[in-house]
């Protein structure tokens, strides 16, 4: 175990795999000497050299598109897209190419690639550099979507993502990059598709991921002081989704609140709600609540942005409304 930040844990996950497998390489804008826009790849260029850590021009379609070709030929690219918002510039390469190649080719191609990209508001970066867009990727059959909420998960899921033979969207949260935690050393793998109960409870289930996991845990502590014992479940990967863990928790608590930073409409919370409304209807003794950002673009002004981001207060309010 080593105490390290979420960002260091991501880097450590990449380092472990780059040492183990010479086919793993990193490509993206300013990922080499500069260390990436948020410093996540810092030092890897010095350690692994220019053949393994490569700067690209500002050409998102090539960053993701080239990875599809390289992965199909047996390499294991980790492509960095500087902000998840920029996925709009390379959506076809992910959606119509990476995701579908294996299927279209009758199983005869593997596309083991990872797209690493940061999401999230709170930096005053406005409408095109602050979004959470994970539900987009969950709508594309053939892509896995990973969203770690702790440092240890960041490492274990990164290693699992790199070793996976499918395209994986690995979405980091900017607000979590400095969050520290105990992280297992060496080859530590968290399997894709396995939820984690981050806090056990009996009165209500909160399903939350990424930064909202941390906010939900804080809210749960405050609710405990008021006598409401919250279970906080972190799916960790949205596709594949650990449906059974969610249903099991709801069968215990009878109540479900889903918290995410994406805007509400067509956010992944809707999918989880729909699954429980179909497969766990009889467990429910109250409406399913969603706490999410409102249906607006992300405003620049800090006062507006803070209102946009789901808060502990809103989580607490949603939970209390069920009692």
């Amino acid at each position: 175990m080593t105490q390290m930040s979420y960002m260091e844990a991501i880097r450590d996950g990449m380092r472990v795999e780059m040492k183990r497998d010479s086919g793993v390489y990193i490509a993206g804008e300013d990922v080499a000497q500069f260390g990436g826009c948020f410093g996540v790849t810092a030092g890897l260029y010095d350690e692994f050299g220019p053949d393994r850590v490569m700067n690209t021009p500002i050409s998102e379609a090539v960053i993701v598109g080239h990875a599809v070709g390289a992965a199909a030929l047996g390499l294991r690219p980790i492509a960095e897209i500087m902000f998840v918002d920029f996925m709009g510039c390379c959506m076809d390469e992910l959606h119509n190419q990476a995701a579908k190649m294996k299927y279209m080719f009758g199983g005869k191609a593997k596309v083991p690639m990872v797209v690493r990209t940061p999401c999230g508001a709170g930096l005053g970066a406005a409408a095109q550099h602050s979004q959470c867009l994970e539900s987009w990727f969950t709508h594309i059959a053939g892509v896995k979507t990973v969203m770690p909420g702790t440092a240890a998960d960041a490492k274990g899921l990164m290693i699992a993502a790199i070793r996976d033979d499918n395209p994986v969207m690995y979405i980091e949260h900017k607000q979590l990059l400095g969050l520290t935690g105990d992280v297992p050393d060496g080859e530590y793998v968290v399997p894709l598709g396995k939820a984690d109960i981050k806090r056990e409870g009996s009165d209500v289930t909160i399903v939350a991921w990424s930064w909202m996991l941390q906010k939900s845990l804080a809210a749960a502590e405050k609710l405990a002081a008021e006598g409401i014992n919250v279970e906080v479940l972190d799916p960790r990967t949205l596709v594949p989704l650990d449906k059974d863990a969610i249903l099991k928790s709801v069968s215990k608590t009878g109540k479900l609140v889903i918290v995410h930073e994406e805007i509400k409409t067509s956010g992944f919370g809707g999918e989880i709600s729909a699954i429980v409304a179909e497969e766990g209807f009889d467990y429910l003794d109250a409406p399913i609540k969603r706490v999410a950002a409102p249906d607006t673009p992300i405003p620049f002004s800090p006062i507006l942005e803070q209102t946009f981001i789901p808060s502990e207060e809103k989580i607490i309010e949603a939970v209390k409304a069920l009692f």
Binding site: E29, D30, Q33, F34, C37, N55, P57, I58, S59, E60, A61, D85, F86, G88, C89, L123, G124, A125, A126, A127, Q128, H129, P294, D295, T296, P297, P299, F300, S301, P302, I303, L304, T307, F308
Partner: protein, 322 residues
């Protein structure tokens, strides 16, 4: 070219005002008064001043993320601009856009853009509207060397050339795409080499020479206005600061930076004005003082302006409440 003294002095005024504005923005950012991301255009003032002197109020302009200078030179209200950078209710965009999305449709400014390379098609669409409406208006599309590597560059230049749209594509080659020097992100020597692919004029000109910028742009604007189609201009300059404020830019070569700082477009033009007796030192000092006063007033306006009401979060998503 015989340029009127009034215009020459206007170039100088614009350049110093932009310099003062941008310097102050950097200070305010460092002091925590301006949130978010700021991409400074310090060192690139001659392009903003020279280019915008060639267009009329009704001409359309598509900008990029490093475009405060062009906004000012096109005539934007600096008070509202500064308020926008602060995130105040009185800002150009009511505080909703910030530096990366600063815009003013009343002046035909279709916005800075946070998505590098997204501006080509939007500006080309504006040029299409000018042609469609049979006005004499034209569009400008400004972008950096780094974003010239996005795919939409090709689509828009091809169509603009094919349809002879009234647009001028202007690359501000400031030496870097974020941390990457031009020679490491561009397969050719110049962005303007690509003009040949579209059968349009392409030139590379010293972007720290305001008169060269002006004359080159004027010719391209004239060509566009006459219905002869687009041009691709490349103005070489140097980004004094990092990609964003807070980027220490350790990737820069110290000697190269030193050499470029000596090519500062402002003292260079001041020297020309004085030598050719188009201005006295007193006049230059006066313009400097005017710039300082304008920026002081803008900062004061921004500081004293109210924050947006939180209900503003929900407005302007659509033309009506849904």
């Amino acid at each position: 070219m015989d340029i009127q003294k009034k215009q020459l002095l206007e170039f100088y005024q614009q350049m110093v005002t932009i310099r003062i504005f941008e310097s102050r923005v950097c200070e305010l950012f460092a002091a925590g008064q301006i949130p978010g991301f700021v991409h400074s255009s310090l060192g690139q003032e001659a392009i903003a001043a020279g280019v915008m002197a060639c267009v009329e109020k009704d001409d359309k302009v598509g900008l990029h993320h490093r475009s405060h200078g062009e906004m000012i030179a096109k005539g934007a209200d600096m008070n509202k601009m500064m308020a926008e950078l602060f995130g105040k209710a009185t800002g150009t965009c009511k505080g909703k856009g910030g530096s990366m999305h600063i815009a003013d449709m009343d002046l035909g400014i279709l916005g800075a853009n946070g998505i590098l390379g997204a501006g080509y098609a939007i500006a080309t669409g504006a040029a299409f509207a000018c042609q469609y409406n049979e006005t004499k208006d034209i569009a400008l599309c400004l972008f950096g060397d780094g974003q010239s590597n996005r795919g939409p560059f090709h689509e828009s230049l091809n169509v603009a050339a094919l349809w002879k749209l009234p647009i001028v594509f202007i690359c501000e080659n400031n030496g870097f795409g974020l941390s990457n020097p031009v020679k490491e992100h561009l397969a050719t020597d110049c962005v303007s080499d690509r003009a040949a692919a579209y059968g349009i004029p392409g030139v590379t000109v010293d972007g720290n020479d305001v008169l060269a910028v002006y004359e080159t742009t004027l010719e391209a604007v004239d060509r566009a206005r006459k219905g002869n189609g687009p041009s691709l201009l490349e103005f070489t300059t140097w980004r004094w600061h990092g990609h964003f404020e807070g980027d220490p830019a350790v990737y820069k070569d110290a000697q190269e930076q030193e050499e470029w700082l000596k090519k500062d477009p402002i003292p260079r033009f001041a020297k020309q004005l004085l030598e050719q007796k188009n201005a006295t030192q007193a006049e230059l000092d006066e313009m400097q003082a005017k710039g300082e006063a304008l920026v002081d007033a803008a900062v004061k306006f921004a500081e004293e302006s109210p924050w947006p009401d939180v209900s503003e979060l929900f407005t302007d998503v659509y033309d009506r409440q849904m």
